[in-house]
Structure formats: structure tokens, C-alpha cells
Amino acid sequence: MNQSNVSNEKQAAASKAGHPILVVEHLSVAFGALEVFRDVSFSVARGSALAVIGPNGSGKSVLFRALIGAEKSSGVIRWAPGVRIGYVPQKLDIERDLPLTGRDFLRAKAAVARTGFDAIRRAIERVGIAPETLKRPIGAMSGGQFQRLLIAFALVGDPNVLMLDEPAAGVDAPGQERVSETLERLRERDGVTVMVISHDLSVVFRHATNVICLARGLKSFGAPREVLTPKMLSELYGTEIGFHVHDLD
């Protein structure tokens, strides 16, 4: 791809910015008689950052799985045409002795996404994985290394939507900072739409364009400053949350 094509694509992406890349209407998921959430509606603008927060068991991960088609749901999920999703699930139980290295895993993505090995190099540079780490079996990697590998995997194939389910889980503090920076850079520079499930309210406040508060249904949806109020957080989590917006201003 030459320089002018890249530039044209960025312009095209910029011109589409603000248009919904995802529209969700009246979405409900139930496991048999157990209702996970119901009647959730929201939209995600192209190039924006959406954060999903809520207590454990509120259906955040189920929402993401419904959005990618892995969970049966009722209602409307409408992705814009041409969407390429990079998905990072919450936790994967990988056996330690599985003879699959990080390189095997990334090569598999490159092959499936029909992209060259150059995409792997770019992805590992973006997330800061040492090339030697890729020689290790994925089950023998540390939590932080594996999490970065999953993010690199999601980035191979140039997705225009990234969905990350607690990407900072198991990552040390410098690693968390790096993940946040990477996501911010991808959004600002490449126009990637970022959707994150997070428990870190300060990260949500800093980086999210909009926030969904989920608790068996949509409690609230809007800009962080409007949504992350002590009253809403207290309602959401059922307890006082020591989070003050003015601390972050």
C-alpha cells in the first residue's frame, strides 16, 4: 500500500468519524430462565472509545460475546459494513504444555486474516513484546505476556474495531500504562474504534468517549463526566465508591 492510499484511507476514516460503527437496540440475553440483561440499547461512533463498567456478574462479558455473535441474543445488533473486529477475551485457560508458541499463534492469525508476516512485526512492536517471548509456549507465558500477545493477535489484520475484555488484568503497572497508550494511539492515529470492559474507573474517565453502566440492563450510557457520578456508581455497585472526578481534572 503506498503513502497516498494510506492518506486517502485516513481521510475516509476521518470523514466517517462520528457515524455509528455499531448500533444496538433492545438487546437481551438469557441463559434459559436466567436473564443476564434485557433491553440494552446504545450506539458506538466510529473512532470513539466505549467503556463498559459494572459489578461482577452484570453481563459485561456476555454483552461482548453477544456482539461478536458467540452468544444467542434477541434484539438488534447492527455493525457497519466492512467492520474488522479484533477481540481480546477476558481470560483463557491455556494448558501449560500446549505445544503452541506465541509465533505459532500470531502466524495463525496472519494466515487466517490473509496478511503478511510484516503485520506480526508491527503488532508486536505496538504492544512491546520481545521477539524471544514469542518462542515460548503460550501456556507457559506470564499473565502479562499472554495478555499482550492477545492484544497483538487482535491487531494483526488491521482491525477497525478493538474489543477488549479487561485488557489490564494480570498486567503489571508499566504494562497497563503501555496497553492504555497503545489503545489511545490506535484510536487517535488510525481511527480504530475501541470498546473496553474495565474495572479501572480512572482509566475509563481518562480515555472513554462514552461509558455504559451495566447491571442486568443498561443503568446509564453517556460521557464519563455525566455517567461516573458518585450517585450512579453507588447505585451500580451497591456500595460507596471512592472515585472523584475532580481528582482527575
Partner: protein, 260 residues
């Protein structure tokens, strides 16, 4: 076809079968579906029995019931809440029992443990084509299979139809069972797909190494077992599996690849 060329054809086919078994078994072991995979081969027995009763080629009966067993495993995995292991443990063991009741004498022994018997040139050609299809499937789909085994959800977002891939894999697995029935029988064929791959899982540190070790163990066990069978005038199936088992136990002496 002369006797010698048929013998050579039979040996070549057995090695092609071993190669296919070594490769396809890798994913059965990595996906932790060894019980289902091993038991699937048992379902061929009632098919063989019915075919013998109807004076048809036993292989046709085996193919029919293996195809049905494959679809059953696939449907259970995707459509019901019952655990696959429960279904496999019940249905396939019953299939083995029913098949054994309907068969007797030498036919039963051959069906259970393999009996090479006479092979036609057409069988060799069809077998080699089937082996090529299985090897080709693993070569082409290995990347999608890797992504799906790490996370079916991630595979979905990569545009992989995981259900379809799963069915294709199980059908290839069943086809490998069909290839090996002549040599190993319904009781032992599953083992040639599991033991070499389990050995490779212990020794290999990456995917290509796993393919290489698994195939080498399967081919080596088949060669040595067949040769030993010729020397001792016994059926080759039990000897092949004994050699494969010996190689697996030898692999236990080496530290795990991930701890080196």
C-alpha cells in the same frame, strides 16, 4: 496387480494412514478430545456387522456408522447441554457391544484388532487419495484449527465458521479411522491417532515440531510393528500399538519441552 506390488501397495497405504493419523491426532490431543476420538472408532463395529450380514463390503458399513457417529458427536457438542463425554461413554460403548453381538469368530477378531488380508489395487489407490485429503486438510486448515482451539470466540471474530470447521475436522478424523480399520481394527485405530500425538505433545515445543514428532512416531510404530508381525506371523495391529506405546513411555523419560 502382482502379489509383490500389492504387498508394497499395502505397506505404502499403511504408512500413508500412519502419516494421516499422526497429523490429525495432534489436534485431538491439543483439544483434549482423546476420549471422544478414541471411542469414535468403536462405532464402526455395528456397521461392519450389518455389512457382513448383508454381504456388503464391511468398509461400507463402517463408513456409514462412522459418519453417523461423527455427526452425533458434533451435534452433541453444539446443540445439547449433555456433556460429550457422557454421550460418548454411553452410545459408543453400546455400539461396540451391539456390534460384537452381531459378529462372531474371525470376522469379529479382524474387525476389533485389524487383519490386513488381501487388498486390491483400487483399495490402495482410494486409500492413498483419502490420506492425501486428510493431510491436505491439516495443511490448509491448521491455522484456523489453532485459533479455534485457543478460543472459539476469537475464531468467530476472525471470520472462522467454528461449527463447520469442527464438523470438517471430525469427518477427517472418521476418514482416518476408516483408513486404519484394515490394519488396526476398531479397538486400536483410535490409539494410533492418540498415542503418537500424546508423545509429540510431551516432546515438542511448537506446532511444527508436534506435527513432525507425531507423524514420525506413527510411521515408525507402523513400520516396526508391521515388520515384527511378519517375523512373528502375528497380526500387525497390536504390535503397532505396542511399539507406539513403548515410544510414549520412552518420551516420559525426557523432561517436558516447556520446562527446558
Amino acid at each position: 496387480m502382482s502379489t509383490i506390488s500389492i504387498e508394497v501397495g499395502s505397506l505404502v497405504l499403511s504408512l500413508a494412514m500412519a502419516t494421516a493419523a499422526g497429523l490429525i491426532g495432534c489436534f485431538a490431543v491439543m483439544r483434549r478430545m482423546t476420549l471422544a476420538a478414541d471411542a469414535l472408532s468403536h462405532v464402526a463395529l455395528p456397521g461392519i456387522a450389518v455389512a457382513v450380514l448383508l454381504r456388503l463390503d464391511p468398509l461400507l458399513g463402517a463408513i456409514a456408522t462412522l459418519a453417523a457417529g461423527t455427526v452425533l458427536i458434533w451435534a452433541v457438542e453444539w446443540r445439547t447441554a449433555i456433556s460429550t463425554e457422557t454421550i460418548v461413554g454411553v452410545v459408543f460403548s453400546v455400539a461396540l457391544a451391539v456390534g460384537a453381538m452381531m459378529t462372531s469368530g474371525e470376522t469379529l477378531l479382524d474387525a476389533l484388532f485389524g487383519g490386513a488380508g488381501k487388498i486390491t489395487g483400487l483399495e490402495v489407490i482410494l486409500g492413498l487419495i483419502a490420506a492425501a485429503v486428510i493431510v491436505g486438510f491439516v495443511a490448509i486448515k491448521r491455522h484456523a484449527l489453532v485459533v479455534a482451539l485457543v478460543s472459539p470466540d476469537i475464531a468467530l471474530t476472525c471470520g472462522i465458521d467454528v461449527r463447520r470447521l469442527d464438523l470438517m475436522y471430525l469427518l477427517m478424523f472418521a476418514l482416518t479411522v476408516v483408513l486404519g480399520l484394515r490394519y488396526l481394527g476398531v479397538l486400536l485405530m483410535g490409539s494410533l491417532m492418540i498415542i503418537p500425538a500424546a508423545t509429540a505433545r510431551r516432546l515438542a515445543g511448537n506446532l511444527n515440531a508436534m506435527f513432525a514428532v507425531s507423524t514420525t512416531v506413527a510411521v515408525l510404530a507402523t513400520l516396526v510393528g508391521t515388520y515384527a508381525a511378519t517375523l512373528t506371523h502375528r497380526e500387525s495391529g497390536p504390535l503397532i500399538i505396542t511399539v507406539a506405546g513403548g515410544l510414549f513411555f520412552l518420551s516420559l523419560l525426557r523432561p517436558r519441552a516447556d520446562s527446558v
